[in-house]
């Protein structure tokens, strides 16, 4: 038993990462795509066939070709795309952390857990297998593999089994805040000494059945189907809605003590986090944030991190390319109480990969740590025609990849349900 169980002054570092992104499958490919400003948004024939208004999206490439390098045929009989994305990113994250190779015969690792969130993932199995058979009265023909694919925790449960995890293994869901919330909660678990390590982040598959509801709401951009790489336009005056994305982004959070004891490579540190909601009050609703809630969330994360507004060198925004972009930046301005000319640099990873929903926070956290570790800020594409409301902040917006010598990047996510999450990442310094 760990006698210092309740100590909460532990430092929590990042020792591994895994990413399956629309513009790069695998961590190295994702890093290169971020540096080069490569868009992962493409025209999707299936969306045209189904009469979607928005017919472009972000889907990781090459996953089908590599999945047998990660999973047995027997595993794949009961794995949908959501589970495959999470599984590959999780195994990559484990390997990247330098942890020993595991097999079905290896012992349970009681020191590691996982919080892997998903928004609407698993809908492909529900739509393509479950509903058609049930509606035809063929329940008997469903077989044994449906439940383990449609339960929300399928993504964490499968990875937990593959890696033999013995800590808490769970799945959270809080719409577009999901991935960020998973990391925030896992951070607390490690910080308070409940576990040495947690794999944390988010995953979302690429099913039209996930994206259809957003298309029906008219919150997807349906005006750029012929120009896919220009379709995701956060902060642009011509932004007309977000572009759906998919993938998985996972981090290995580890106590500094554990990381140092095994000589692990350290990418960076999480100083603090906060998750809250706005209660659907003061302008907040199921689909819009209460600005006061956002401001409190950011300030609480800074307070926990023991940093002031001037210490934040850059922000990886939520910034989806809806009407809410300028409100988001105004909320940051309120939270930091800085003049526009003193505002940190800000970029939107969604400009490159679209909005990966439950995976967004995870993938964007990986992007944030890559930027801190490798000293760059990636381009925020397609906002050369900045929204007039953001003109005061034009010097802060990263249009082209630039060298970054700062130490702290804040990552925020906001989701349907009026939920907010904020993480404060710091470049690794002993």
């Amino acid at each position: 038993m760990n006698k210092s169980h309740n100590r909460s002054d532990r430092r929590v570092v990042i020792t591994g990462m895994g990413a399956i992104a629309p513009n790069g499958t695998g961590l190295e490919n994702f890093k290169i795509a971020l540096k080069e400003g490569t868009s992962g948004i493409k025209f999707i024939e299936k969306l045209k066939e189904l009469n979607f208004g928005c017919q472009v999206g972000g889907i990781p490439e090459g996953v089908e070709e590599i999945k047998r390098d990660y999973f047995s045929e027997e595993d794949l009989l009961a794995m949908n795309e959501n589970m495959i994305f999470a599984g590959i990113a999780g195994i990559d994250c484990w390997s990247d952390a330098g942890l020993p190779k595991v097999s079905p015969d290896s012992e349970t690792d009681w020191d590691t857990g996982a919080i892997i969130g998903t928004g609407i993932g698993g809908m492909d199995t529900i739509a393509e297998k479950l509903i058609p058979k049930v509606n035809k009265g063929k329940v008997r023909r469903l077989g044994s593999t449906i439940v383990e694919q449609v339960m929300c925790s399928s993504v964490s449960a499968k990875l937990g089994g593959i890696l033999g995890l013995g800590g808490q293994v769970t799945t959270n869901s809080s719409a577009c805040t999901t991935g960020t919330e998973a990391i925030a909660d896992a951070f607390i678990k490690v910080k308070t000494g409940q576990l040495k390590r947690m794999i944390a982040g988010g995953v979302e598959s690429s099913s039209p059945y996930i994206w259809a509801g957003f298309d029906g709401m008219k919150v997807l951009n349906s005006t750029s189907n012929d120009r896919p790489t220009e379709a995701s336009r956060p902060m642009s005056a011509t932004a007309r809605g977000f572009i759906p994305g998919s993938g998985a982004g996972l981090l290995m959070l580890e106590s500094l003590e554990s990381a140092e004891s095994r000589g692990a490579r350290i990418y960076g540190e999480i100083l603090g986090s906060h998750v809250n909601s706005g209660g659907h009050r003061s302008g907040g609703s199921m689909t819009a944030p209460n600005s006061d809630g956002v401001v409190r969330c950011i300030r609480e994360a800074m307070y926990m991190s023991q940093i002031g507004p001037q210490d934040i060198d850059a922000i990886n925004g939520h910034l989806t390319a809806t009407f809410a972009d300028d409100k988001e930046i105004e909320n940051w301005r309120r939270a930091l109480e800085l003049k526009p000319q003193d505002f940190p640099k800000i970029n939107s990873t969604k400009s490159l990969i679209g909005h990966a929903l439950g995976a967004a926070g995870g993938l964007e956290a990986v992007a944030t740590v890559l930027q801190l570790h490798h000293g760059f800020l990636h381009a925020s594409l397609n906002c050369e025609d900045l929204k007039p409301e953001l003109s005061d902040f034009s010097e802060s917006i990263v249009h082209k990849m630039e060298k970054f010598e700062g130490k702290i990047i804040a990552k925020s996510s906001f989701g349907f349900g009026d939920v907010n999450g904020c993480l404060i990442f710091k470049k690794w310094e002993k």
């Binding site: 045929e73 023909r141 044994s144 593999t145």
Partner: protein, 83 residues
């Protein structure tokens, strides 16, 4: 009309994807236990029976499916349905 050997080989092919112990497929006999020897997850027996039904165009009642323990049990049951 299929011979018993043909049925056995077809059953082996249908069970193979579910075997976590593929080495046992090399020494398969009528006495091979589907769960213990082949390492099939017990939940997957449902899927294997569905595969039998599709491949041999038969219907296997739940009670009969519950009596399938070995390769030989499966072959006997299927033979009784297709003859």
């Amino acid at each position: 009309m299929m011979t018993e050997t043909q049925v056995f080989d077809k059953v082996a092919g249908l069970i193979a994807p579910y075997a976590k112990n593929p080495d046992a497929l090399k020494t398969l006999s009528k006495d091979s236990k589907i769960l213990e020897d082949l390492g099939v997850n017990s939940a997957r027996l449902v899927d294997i029976v569905l595969a039998f039904e599709d491949a041999f165009d038969i219907e296997v009642e739940d009670e009969a499916a519950d009596e399938i323990w070995t390769m030989g049990d499966a072959v006997s049951l299927i033979n009784s349905k297709i003859q």
